[in-house]
């Protein structure tokens, strides 16, 4: 009976001039039980993964009296936005005007991200597409640099920056952000597989210079890669407290100001949960929108030996 109904619906859809729906076919090597098991496992794990985040969201909408209920409720009985209002009021009361923190974050994020994408694309294009001597060595160095992180270089970076008088300026955050080896790595791998040599060759025969080819031909072809680089760079800069190299209050970032509100105990539990929610919305939304580009870029990122 169900079958007949679904067939009828399908016929009506086709009669209206729509594409016939693809028949759902079980893929090879898949059993119904297995499919169900996988879905069940994923749903359980996804719930477990998102439990703390959901709790934070619930916490941020609770009115004051419900924060100290025993036992605590997972979700508020009465949803209020008091905590968010308080958060922004506290921000307004801070010593340095809050717009300044936002300005700092925006300035640092935009200039750092811009520099990062431009510098890595230039270098990646040359390494991937111009057969100059030494390029394999350069790329190998980049791969080795993926094997350690900033913990190792932190101390000496600090010494170097204080020698260059960059400490306590915007430069201390922006300049290092322009050079992320993972960005170059991703860009190079993507260029290698998605910019075809034939197109570049014909442009070279037409007499176009390398810079021109880079801007007019290569860059438009690697749009997913630079979107990905923008997201990775932006995410790092957005989350950066920028407090290691910056002491002046008026140069610090939004993230720093918010975490300061929370950890210094100025704010209540509800307000700190609200700030967590505010801080995570932006990177999550950006990632969700651009996800297909990121996945496309990552698919070329494998390390060939």
């Amino acid at each position: 009976m169900f079958k007949k109904l679904s067939e009828k619906i399908e016929m009506r859809r086709v009669a209206k001039g729509k594409q016939p729906k693809e028949q759902f076919k079980r893929s090879i090597n898949r059993s119904a039980g297995g499919d169900f098991g996988v879905l069940f496992f994923l749903v359980v794990c996804a719930l477990a993964m998102s439990l703390p985040v959901i709790y934070a969201i619930g916490q941020s909408f609770k009115p004051l009296d419900e924060l100290w209920l025993f036992p605590p409720h997972f979700f508020p009985n009465r949803w209020v936005i008091d905590n968010f209002v308080d958060l922004f009021r506290l921000m307004g009361d801070s010593w340095v005007p809050f717009s300044r923190y936002i300005f700092n974050t925006v300035l640092i994020s935009i200039s750092g991200t811009f520099g990062n994408v431009i510098l890595s694309s230039f270098a990646a294009y040359a390494i991937a597409k111009i057969p100059f001597p030494g390029r394999n060595m350069l790329f190998q160095t980049i791969v080795y640099s993926l094997m350690f992180n900033s913990t190792v270089t932190g101390i000496t970076n600090f010494l170097l920056m204080s020698y260059l008088k960059m400490i306590d300026t915007y430069w201390a955050v922006i300049v290092p952000a322009c050079c992320t080896t993972f960005g170059l790595y991703l860009m190079k791998q993507f260029m290698e597989s998605s910019v075809t040599d034939a197109v570049l060759e014909s442009a070279r025969i037409d007499g176009a210079g390398e810079f021109r080819i880079f801007w007019k031909i290569a860059m438009p072809m690697v749009k997913p890669a630079w979107i990905t680089l923008i997201i990775f760079a932006f995410k790092d800069l957005w989350n950066s407290g920028a407090s290691t190299y910056i002491y002046s209050e008026e140069l610090k970032t939004f993230n720093y100001a918010i975490s300061q509100l929370v950890t210094s105990g100025v704010a209540r539990t509800g307000v700190s949960a609200a700030s967590t929610v505010v801080m995570m919305i932006v990177p999550c939304a950006v990632f969700y929108i651009t996800q297909s580009n990121v996945i496309q870029t990552m698919s070329t990122s494998g390390m060939k030996d």
Binding site: S27, I28, N29, R30, V38, L39, L42, C45, A46, M49, S50, Y55, A56, Q59, P71, P72, L119, F122, A123, A126, I127, I130, P131, F132, N136, L138, M147, F148, S150, T151, V152, T153, G154, I155, T156, F158, L159, L160, C179, T181, F182, F211, W238, N239, N255, V262, S272, T276, M279, M280, C284, F287, Y288, Q291, I295, T297, M298, G302, M303, D305
Partner: protein, 312 residues
Amino acid sequence: MAKKEQAVVRKDISRFRWTLSEIKKHKVAYLMVAPFFILFIMFYVVPVVLSVVLSFTVFNMLEFPEFVFFDNYIRLLFDDEVFITAIKNTLIFAVITGPASYLLSLFFAWFINELRPKLRAFLTLIFYAPSISGAVYLIWAVFFSSDQYGFVNAYLIEFGIINEPILWFQDTDTIFPLIIVVALWTSLGTSFLTFIAGFQVVNKDLYEAGAIDGIKNRWQELWYITLPSMRPQMMLSAILSITGAFGFGGVITALVGFPSPDYCVHTIMHHLDDYGGARYEMGYASAIATILFFMMIGCNLLITRILRKVGS
């Protein structure tokens, strides 16, 4: 790529002359890589070299460094019990969270790949969110808060399992497992995305060919077809997971505080911050950084060598 270059090697001039002429021909390429690699040398190469050099000195940032041979290393290894604890903790962390986060990334990505696109995109976000949203892990401190209003304590008391609230992030017995859970929670990052992408580019024809050759279920398919054709992604993921596992320390400071009770979750990173950031013993801190550097590189090279052997 290397093969292609070999093809144009000319016989009539020496290799050196040929290289020179190639350099001249591709001048513009050097111009393109220059800005990036100048910064790369400044922020990666020089710091590593400098920390190796400084590790043989006593340096307090005021006076000129004084050369002391291996004194820093001798002091670290034989006279600094906290450092031995830090090494032990770092290794335990790396050995547990590195492989665990690698396997979690692999299996979650594999399962997610079976779903339809809309659901896939949504679940990817759910699993990836903790690692991109900055300080969201602080919510664990509220979740496992040590008073009776903490969510976990409240329900354990409510159901009569415990009588007194547990001091989750102060009790040396509970800190370690909790930190590992939080570490795994935030570790589904770039390596997870690499796997998600890797599963999508496996040649679909291989699956049909495999089915004809007698592959019966999804596990065999994973082992005999998918994993061998994803080796490049597996290599990159391994490197990212290992590096991540060794560099995990900021979360501990944020949740437990510094120093941790009885140094029970003191890692090399904390030791480094202590001597470099608080005591300004830059020579000693550089020795710590140098040891960490070689541990990371060594571990990565070992694992990539092993992975290269898999299936070949």
